[in-house]
C-alpha cells in the first residue's frame, strides 16, 4: 500500500475515535491531542493499524508517536509486502 492509501486508512481509523470530528482537517502533522484522541483512543488506533497492516508496534517506538505522520511512516516502513 502506498503512503496515500495508508494515510486514507489511518484517517478512517481516527474518524471512529472522536465524535464530531471534521476529517478534512486531519493531515500528517496533526497531533493526536489536537484531534481529541485520548490515550485509549491512541491504543485502539494502533490496534486498528496492526490488525489491518499485519504489523507490530514495538513498545518504545510507539510511545514516541505524537502525530498522524508518525504512525503512517511506521506502517509504510514495516508493512508486510503484498505477495506477488
Amino acid at each position: 500500500m502506498d503512503r496515500a492509501e495508508i494515510t486514507a486508512k489511518v484517517i478512517q481509523f481516527i474518524s471512529t475515535k472522536v465524535e464530531n470530528l471534521d476529517v478534512s482537517t486531519i493531515n500528517e502533522s496533526s497531533k493526536f491531542e489536537e484531534l481529541g484522541l485520548d490515550s485509549m483512543d491512541t491504543i485502539q488506533l494502533l490496534f486498528d493499524a496492526e490488525d489491518t497492516f499485519g504489523i507490530n508496534f514495538e513498545g518504545d517506538e510507539a510511545k514516541g508517536f505524537t502525530c498522524v505522520g508518525d504512525i503512517i511512516s511506521y506502517i509504510e516502513k514495516h508493512q508486510v509486502p503484498a505477495s506477488s
Binding site: S15, T16, K17, V18, E19, M40, I43, Q44, F47, E50, D51, N56
Partner: protein, 406 residues
C-alpha cells in the same frame, strides 16, 4: 413511600419500543426464527429470538459502537426509549440519578470474538475487557446521560433483570437516589453460548423447522427454551416526586422478594420460588389473596414449568386457578438477564391496559400444568396486582410485585 414506573423502553424480538412490543404481544406474534446472525447449521438448536432490525448506527456514534458490546447497545437503546417516555429527568441532580442493570452473560459476544482471534494468533482488541465486563451497560448508560449516582450491575443469570429492578426499589426506599434507570440486557445468541446451553440440555432442539412453535411454556411436547436477545428498562421514581414534576405514571413497584434455593446450581426448587413470591407480597404489605395476575418465568423447559406451577399452587392454594397467568417467553423466547425486565414491562402494561397477553403455542397443556395460562388469545381481565417471576441458575428466585395506582 410509593415507587412508581414513569417510563419504559423495550428492545425485543417482537418489537422495539413499548407500543410495537405490546401490540405484537397482545396479538400473539412469535419473534422466533432460524438464526441469521451466524451459520447455525452445526448447532443442535438452530433457532433464536434475534432483533434483525436493530441498527446501532441509527442512534450511536462510531466511537460508541467501537467501544461497546451488543448487549450494551441494546441497553442504551432501551434506556433512550424509556427516558423519552418518562419525559426526561432533568429536574433531578445528576448525583441523585442511579442506574441498576442486570445481565447474565455481559459482553459475551466480545469475549467470544476476542477468544477466537487469540486462538488464531491475531492481535487482541484493546477494548475487549471494557466491552465484556458485566457492568459496561450500566456504565455506558451513565456516560451517555451523565447519571452520576450509584451505578450497579446484578448478574444472577436468568433472574438478573428482576434483581436489578429490586435493587432499584431498595435504592429509592433508602433514599440513595431520586430516580433509578433499572432493567436488564442480554445478547448471547452466539455459537459458544448456544453450544454451552445445548450441552446442559437446556435448549429446544425439536423445532428447528417450525421455529415459531418452539417456545411453548406449559404445553405438551416442549423440549427446552429458545435463546433470545433483548433489553428492557424502567424509569423508577418516588411517587410524590413524579407527581410534582407532572410525570405520567404507569404503575407502582410495590414489592420485591428474593430467595436462594441453596440446593443445586441449575435445578429449580419449588420452595425457593414460593419464598420469593411470598416475600414480594409481604414486602408490599399485602396478602396472597390480593394477587390476580402472574407473569410467569415459564421458559418452556420440561421441568421448570412444572415446578413453577407447583410453586403457584403451593402459595395460592385453592385460589391458584383463579389467577391469570401468562408467559411472555412463548413469543420472544428467553432473553436471560433481560427476561424479567421485559416481563416487568408486560406486567405493567397488563395493569395499565387491563389486557393479559396470551401464552402462545398452548393448544394442549401438559397435564401437570393445569392453571389459567391465558392460552393463545389475549384476555381483558383488568388485573390490579401482578407478580413478575424470574428464576435463575444459582438457585436464584426473584419476584417483583407491581400494582395499579389506585
Amino acid at each position: 413511600m410509593h415507587v412508581v414506573v414513569t417510563g419504559m423502553g423495550v428492545v425485543s424480538p417482537i418489537g422495539i419500543g413499548t407500543d410495537q412490543f405490546w401490540t405484537a404481544a397482545v396479538n400473539g406474534v412469535s419473534g422466533i426464527q432460524r438464526i441469521e446472525s451466524f451459520d447455525a447449521s452445526g448447532q443442535r438448536s438452530q433457532i433464536a429470538g434475534e432483533i434483525p432490525g436493530f441498527n446501532p448506527a441509527g442512534f450511536l456514534s462510531a466511537k460508541y459502537i467501537e467501544q461497546t458490546d451488543r448487549f450494551t447497545q441494546l441497553a442504551l437503546l432501551a434506556t433512550s426509549l424509556a427516558l423519552e417516555d418518562a419525559g426526561g429527568l432533568d429536574v433531578y441532580a445528576p448525583q441523585r440519578l442511579a442506574v441498576s442493570i442486570g445481565s447474565g452473560m455481559g459482553g459475551f459476544a466480545t469475549f467470544e470474538a476476542s477468544a477466537t482471534r487469540n486462538f488464531r494468533n491475531q492481535p487482541t482488541p484493546p477494548f475487549t475487557v471494557p466491552r465484556t465486563m458485566a457492568n459496561s451497560a450500566a456504565a455506558w448508560i451513565a456516560i451517555k446521560h451523565r447519571f452520576k449516582g450509584m451505578n450497579l450491575t446484578c448478574s444472577t443469570a436468568c433472574s438478573s433483570g428482576a434483581n436489578a429492578i429490586g435493587m432499584a426499589l431498595d435504592l429509592l426506599r433508602t433514599g440513595r437516589a431520586d430516580a433509578v434507570i433499572a432493567g436488564g440486557a442480554e445478547a448471547c445468541v452466539l455459537p459458544l453460548t448456544m453450544t454451552a446451553f445445548e450441552a446442559l440440555r437446556a435448549l429446544t432442539t425439536g423445532f428447528n423447522t417450525t421455529p415459531t412453535r418452539a417456545s411453548r411454556p406449559f404445553a405438551k411436547g416442549r423440549d427446552g427454551f429458545v435463546m433470545s436477545e433483548g433489553a428492557g428498562v424502567l424509569i423508577l421514581e418516588k411517587e410524590e416526586n413524579a407527581k410534582q414534576r407532572g410525570a405520567k405514571m404507569y404503575a407502582r413497584l410495590a414489592g420485591y422478594g428474593q430467595a436462594c434455593d441453596a440446593t443445586h446450581i441449575v435445578m429449580p426448587e419449588m420452595n425457593g420460588q414460593v419464598a420469593a413470591m411470598r416475600l414480594a407480597i409481604t414486602d408490599a404489605g399485602m396478602e396472597p389473596d390480593s394477587i390476580d395476575y402472574i407473569n410467569a418465568h415459564a421458559t418452556s423447559t420440561p421441568l421448570g414449568d412444572i415446578v413453577e406451577t407447583r410453586a403457584i399452587k403451593s402459595l395460592f392454594e385453592n385460589r391458584a386457578g383463579d389467577i391469570s397467568i401468562n408467559a411472555t417467553k412463548s413469543m420472544i423466547g428467553h432473553t436471560v438477564g433481560a427476561s424479567a425486565a421485559i416481563g416487568s414491562i408486560a406486567t405493567i402494561m397488563a395493569l395499565h391496559t387491563g389486557i393479559i397477553h396470551p401464552t402462545i403455542n398452548l393448544d394442549e397443556a401438559d397435564p401437570e400444568c393445569d392453571l389459567a395460562y391465558t392460552p393463545n388469545h389475549a384476555q381483558q381481565k383488568n388485573p390490579r396486582n401482578g407478580l413478575c417471576n424470574a428464576f435463575g441458575f444459582g438457585g436464584n428466585n426473584a419476584s417483583i410485585l407491581f400494582t395499579t395506582l389506585e
